[in-house]
């Protein structure tokens, strides 16, 4: 890495806010995905102004920049694919305002998702997007990836809760888009920037909506002897227009792994369970719980249990949210997918997943947001065994191709990042890419921000610019 740039960064921030030794950088080559890429330098700004100055400095040295929150992403979105400066928002972690009357909060990007809900709790409010990593992931990361979570079934993903952003553009300009009330004329700029995976601008401040906590919540655990019965139940709930707040499915193999780890109370001898939550007015919740139970029983649920208290409810959710951790006990590595399918296609898709797993000789666990049709097949493999990673990626690719084939898509909440960029032509034409590239270039013309993400790098998909991994030797005048 260019020492002159490092010295300038140290002078701009301080020595403790700039990492450049190999042993310090090693951690930052990973996120939650199977990808890895090493940054040349990692910086920890404290203010928007510092972010702007870092961006200007990097531009002067012709070095790319990637923003990063907690590094919990699952698509390589916050990895420095072509090296350069990694800008970590961990120290921009203040909740700047909670406006209970208007149900708004203003936060810096490094605020941990769960911390915002905790801070809003005294007002009876919370931040609705709840990714499994919510106790460690940051709201800046949620914005970049347009993160979801179990309860987005009823309340929508991150974009539905963001009303305004402060951005730093690749030339260092600071600009605000949207507004606190979330209702301006003109183009929906927050709608574009949320989910743009850090490829258009760096986000330095976020204004979000807060929701009022529901009066009543019931959490149901429906136990099935076949996966088909569980998936048919979800399809039927959708078809009967019953919309729970969350509807998660765990297959038997996965829930047994969770039981060994978390002891959440999932029945070990079942083929699948549905974790279904209904919430709202007390009277509405009672009616919805009855309707959900009826559908489950119609599809041969052998038991539908309602969590007796918050403790049991929390334990069930702990099991769900720690599922990926539980998988870590079964194999040295795993690859979590994020395909989405129409809910009406759930039964046939789960059958196909099992068939693909058998063919590739991989164990594929299923724990996912069934109510949204958002699958998270987990392919377990051993990267020490030569060729296993490649085979796992091949199996994953076949799964995602099938999702597209039945009318679905590649990613529901994890983002394209670097892991799915080469599959993008399954969905998008050259004309589609051309427009996306024009929009990209309108804000990030030199690919200074997060190069090598979203767009396929292979030939035939347009000329996607990616900066050289080797930065220029000296600053431009």
């Amino acid at each position: 890495m260019n020492l002159a740039l490092i010295r300038e960064l140290e002078s701009l921030l301080d020595k403790q806010s700039v990492l450049h030794l190999p042993e310090d950088l090693a951690l930052y080559q990973y996120d939650g995905s199977v990808e890895k890429a090493l940054p040349d330098v990692v910086v920890f700004p404290r203010t928007t102004d510092e972010v702007s100055q870092i961006v200007r400095l990097a531009a002067r040295y012709d070095v790319p920049i990637v923003g990063r929150g907690a590094g919990t992403g699952l698509s390589g979105g916050a990895l420095a694919r072509t090296g350069g400066v990694m800008l970590v928002f961990a120290r921009m972690n203040r909740i700047l305002a909670i406006d209970a009357r208007n149900q708004r909060a203003v936060v810096e990007p490094g605020v941990v998702n769960f911390e915002l809900s905790r801070a809003a709790e005294p007002s009876g409010l919370y931040f609705a997007p709840d990714p499994s990593s919510q106790k460690s992931c940051t709201i800046g990361g949620n914005v970049s990836e347009n993160a979801g979570g179990p309860h987005t079934l009823a309340y929508g993903v991150t974009t539905n809760h963001v009303v305004a952003l402060e951005l730093v553009l690749p030339d260092g300009e600071i600009v605000r888009i949207g507004n606190a009330h979330g209702d301006a004329h003109g183009y929906d700029l927050p709608g574009l920037f949320v989910g743009s995976e850090g490829t258009l601008a760096l986000v330095t401040e976020i204004t979000v909506k807060l929701l009022r906590r529901p009066e009543a919540v019931k959490t149901l655990l429906a136990v099935f002897d076949t996966i088909d019965d569980a998936t048919s139940t979800v399809a039927e709930l959708t078809a009967r227009a019953i919309t729970p707040a969350a509807c998660e499915m765990l297959d038997g193999w996965t829930l047994r792994a969770i039981e060994d780890y978390v002891h959440a109370g999932f029945p070990r001898d079942s083929a699948a369970v549905l974790l279904i939550e209904v919430e709202g007015l007390t009277e509405a919740v009672a009616a919805q719980a009855t309707a959900v139970s009826e559908v489950c029983h119609d599809h041969h649920a052998r038991e539908v249990r309602i969590a007796r208290d918050n403790q049991e409810r929390d334990l069930l959710w702990k099991g769900r949210k720690n599922a990926f951790g539980a998988m870590g006990r079964l194999a040295p590595s795993n690859y979590v997918l994020d395909g989405v399918i129409p809910r009406s296609k759930l039964p046939q898709t789960l059958r196909r997943l099992a068939e693909i797993g058998e063919r590739y000789n991989f164990k594929i666990g299923n724990i996912f947001h069934a109510g949204d049709g958002n699958l998270h097949p987990i392919v377990l493999f051993d990267p020490r065994d030569p060729g296993q990673l490649e085979l796992a990626l091949e199996a994953a690719s076949e799964i995602l191709r099938y999702c597209v084939e039945v009318g679905g898509t590649l990613t529901g909440e994890h983002g394209v990042g670097m892991e799915k960029s080469e599959l993008m032509p399954l969905l998008f034409s050259d004309d589609d890419f051309d427009l996306m590239r024009r929009v990209h270039d309108a804000f990030n013309p030199n690919s200074a921000l997060n190069p090598g993400k979203i767009f396929p790098l292979s030939k035939g998909c347009g000329e996607i610019r990616v900066k050289s991994p080797k930065p220029a030797a000296s600053p431009r005048a």
């Binding site: 208007n102 990836e145 347009n146 987005t152 929508g156 993903v157 974009t159 539905n160 600009v175 605000r176 888009i177 507004n179 606190a180 009330h181 979330g182 209702d183 301006a184 004329h185 003109g186 183009y187 929906d188 700029l189 709608g191 574009l192 989910g195 009022r212 529901p214 959708t238 078809a239 227009a241 709202g280 007015l281 009277e283 509405a284 009616a287 129409p342 009406s344 947001h369 949204d372 049709g373 009318g407 898509t409 590649l410 529901g412 909440e413 994890h414 983002g415 394209v416 993008m424 969905l427 998008f428 034409s429 004309d431 589609d432 051309d434 427009l435 996306m436 929009v439 309108a442 979203i454």
Partner: protein, 437 residues
């Protein structure tokens, strides 16, 4: 018809066929926008034909404005140029509907009324009850960016659009999003089309998530001597567990709604089982008493239905009775509305207000005199009041002549530059509805 317009019409005929071209002055006048009349009207029957027309227009540097029923076509600044009107009403089919998945893909020219009928058969609906609902097309409803009273529960279009297909200013047929309810694959370009007034692309198809028809709907009506009381009820409901499907505050003497009343009215809609409705009714009546309402009552099915239809059509009815009416759409945080309402009251014009629960509201008045300078001054004062209080405001309906004196989008915004960059990315030659933003 000039020689050049004959050339244009001939070329367009080769794309869509002679029967889908209108070129007589009378026919073209029906497609005028702020008194600008196109040289020719083309009615494509497919997305491919739309693409061909726009490619031709780009080659010839002709300005194109896409339209559906034309009920909201005058929203925006007058077009800088207008050569071809693109009548989208022949693209009027449901392209894909999976009721079991609650997802829908519909061509832009389909009327909302026809679509509603098709969804009703499956006991579903789209919460896009925009004004001019009996005429509006799906594409027009999205491109105009108007809200519906149902946003209280279902949000705005950005909350239930899941994808779109559209033709850019270079004639490329492109898409974004998809047909599933959760999707982060690629940029969310379809969200940019909402309220874009056709300036970015010509929408050919839109994908939505659909919603189950609610159970028996009920209504609630309370009246107050001042806006403060009505807003206090809004706050009370927002701080409760209730989740009404609709919420509107209507100012005194609102034509067609409460023309004779000197009171502010709050109209709330809700739905659910008998137990839920009973609970909501009890709570609302108690909240009305707490906030010192003059009267409060529960409305049964038919009365409720009629009232919501009237509220949905309140703006068209105002314009129909007083075509010179100036109507702003203003948005502010709900907690700041009392201050904004009192500042606007200082304008001292007979005005009407129709406010949703989110803080967005329509503010309308009839010009006191035909003097455009005077009217322009009044409009400027309203923009200034809003700007000072960090509210956003736009003058959506006003006499065309006023638009020569006043920027209907109000004061410049910090993100105007970013909007221009997007416009250039989508429409590099500036041929789609040029000048309207």
């Amino acid at each position: 018809m000039t020689a050049s317009s004959v050339h244009v019409a001939t070329q367009l005929e080769s794309i869509v066929g002679r029967s889908h071209i209108k070129s007589s002055p009378e026919e073209c006048a029906a497609y005028s926008v702020d008194n600008c009349i196109p040289g020719v009207v083309a009615a494509p029957a497919s997305a491919h034909e739309v693409s061909e027309i726009v490619r031709f227009a780009a080659k010839e540097n002709l300005a194109v404005i896409a339209c559906g029923s034309r009920s909201k076509l005058n929203i925006g600044k007058p077009p800088a140029r207008y050569d071809i009107a693109l009548d989208m009403t022949s693209l009027n089919q449901i392209a894909h509907y999976d009721p079991a998945d609650l997802t829908l893909s519909v061509e832009a020219g389909m009327s909302l009324a026809t679509l509603s009928t098709a969804l009703f058969e499956q006991k579903q609906f789209l919460p896009l009850a925009v004004p001019f609902a009996d005429r509006s097309t799906v594409g027009g409803a999205i491109a105009s960016g108007l809200d519906s009273p149902l946003r209280q529960l279902y949000g705005t279009a950005r909350d239930f659009i899941i994808g779109a297909e559209f033709v850019t200013g270079s004639g490329a047929l492109t898409k974004s999003g998809g047909r599933v309810v959760k999707n982060v694959t690629g940029y969310d370009l379809h969200k940019l089309l909402i309220g874009s007034l056709g300036t970015l692309a010509v929408i050919t198809r839109i994908n939505f998530r659909t919603f189950p028809l609610p159970l028996d709907a009920c209504g609630f009506l309370a009246s107050y001597p001042s806006a403060a009381g009505a807003l206090a009820l809004r706050d009370r409901i927002a701080n409760s567990p209730l989740a009404p499907s609709t919420f509107e505050i209507v100012s005194p003497r609102f034509p067609h709604l409460f023309p004779d009343a000197d009171l502010w009215h709050v109209c709330v809609g809700f739905a659910g089982t008998a137990e839920v409705s009973g609970r909501v009714s009890r709570d609302l009546l108690a909240f009305a008493a707490e906030t010192n309402s003059v009267s409060a009552q529960i409305l049964e099915d038919q009365a409720c239905f009629t009232l919501w239809q009237q509220i949905r059509e309140a703006i068209p009815n105002l314009l129909s009775a007083s075509p010179a009416m100036c109507i702003f759409k203003i948005a502010q945080l709900p907690g700041e509305l009392p201050k904004l309402f009192s500042s606007l009251a200082k304008i001292e014009l007979p005005s009407v207000v129709l406010a949703g629960g989110s803080g967005a509201f329509y503010y309308g008045f009839c010009p006191a005199s035909p003097d455009l300078q005077l009217l322009s001054g009044t409009v400027a004062s309203i923009f200034e009041i809003c700007s000072e209080q960090n509210a956003t405001s736009a003058l959506l309906w006003c006499p065309t002549e006023l638009k020569k004196h006043q920027n209907i989008w109000g004061q410049p915004r910090q993100d105007d530059g970013l909007m221009k960059r997007l416009k250039f990315a989508f429409d590099p030659q500036n041929i789609l509805a040029p000048g309207r933003y």
